[in-house]
Assembly symmetry: C2
Homo-oligomer: 139 residues x 2
DNA sequence: CTGCTTGCAAACTGTTTGCATGATC
DNA sequence: GATCATGCAAACAGTTTGCAAGCAG
C-alpha cells in the first residue's frame, strides 16, 4: 500500500509532511526512534514538532506500533498486523525479526491462574545478544 | 540480605545515601522508575543526581536490573537472579510477576537459524492487559 | 589521608504545548 | 470556507556532566 493510501484508509489528511515521514519510515525497513528519524536527510525539512505529532497520530491510528527494544527511548515500526519480535545486538543495535513466540499459550495459562487479570491484549518479547560483526571486532 | 551486606558483597562503599536508596527499593517490593523513587519521602533528602548515579551503579553491579514495562521510561527491580516476568495492567499499572517463559528454547532455535547472532544473554517478556479493578470501574 | 561519593549548578536530550499562519478537503 | 496541520518559540521532563567539598575505608 502506498503512503497516500495508508493515510486515506485511516481518514487522515494527505499532507506533504505526512507523506514524507511515512515514505521515510517505509524505506527504513526496521524499527526506529524519533531522534533517529530526525537525523535522516529526507525529513530534515519537516519540523521536529510535526514529526512528533504525526508519529503519535500514526500510533493511535495503528499505522505504527511501539516497541521496547531499549528502555528509555521509544522505538516504532510499521504495524503490519503480523505479530513478530526481534533479536537485537547489545553492542551495535543490529536487529533481525523473529517469528517464534509462545505468548499465546502463556497468556492463557497466566489468565487461568491469576485472580486479578481478566484479559491480555498485548505482549513484548525481545531477545538481546551479540552479533557476528561485534564479536569479530572484539576479538 | 541486608542493604549493607549487599553493598559490601559488591565492593561498594557503604554510605548513608546508598543504604537509604537500597532500603527504599527493598521496601517498595515492585518495579520502579527513578522519577517514582524521587517522589518517595524516604529518599527526598538525597540529591536526585546521587540517586541517578547509584541506580546506574547498582545496575552495573547487578544489584538491580532494567525492565521495559512501559516504553520511554526505565523500570528497575532488585535482581534476585531468578528470572521472572510481569503482567501489567494497561490502565492502572498494577502488576504481578509471572514465572512461565519459553525464552530459553526460543533462543536456542533463533541462534540455530540466524546467520548473524552468536549469543543471546538477555530477553524481555511482559504481558499487558486489564486488571479486575479497572474492569469493574469501567463498567 | 587518599580516593570515592555527594551536592549543586548547569547543560543536554527527548518530548509537549500554545498560538498564529497555512494547507487540505 | 471551515477545519485541521504546520512551524516557531518556549516550556517541560528525564538524565548527565563538571567541579569543589565531604566522607568511608
Amino acid at each position: 500500500m502506498t503512503a497516500a493510501d495508508l493515510l486515506k484508509k485511516n481518514n487522515l489528511k494527505v499532507t506533504k509532511s505526512r507523506l514524507l515521514i511515512l515514505k521515510t519510515v517505509m524505506d527504513f525497513r526496521k524499527p526506529f526512534t524519533v531522534p533517529e528519524l530526525l537525523s535522516i536527510e529526507n525529513v530534515q525539512g519537516v519540523d521536529p514538532v510535526t514529526i512528533y505529532r504525526n508519529i503519535s497520530l500514526f500510533t493511535t491510528s495503528k499505522i505504527l506500533k511501539e516497541l521496547s527494544l531499549r528502555t528509555g527511548v521509544i522505538h516504532y515500526e510499521l504495524d503490519t498486523g503480523h505479530t513478530h519480535h526481534h533479536i537485537v545486538c547489545n553492542t551495535c543495535g543490529y536487529l533481525e525479526p523473529i517469528f517464534t513466540c509462545e505468548a499465546q499459550s502463556i497468556s492463557e495459562k497466566v489468565l487461568r491462574e491469576s485472580k486479578h487479570f481478566i484479559s491480555i491484549n498485548k505482549h513484548s518479547f525481545e531477545l538481546f545478544g551479540l552479533c557476528m560483526n561485534c564479536y569479530e571486532n572484539k576479538k
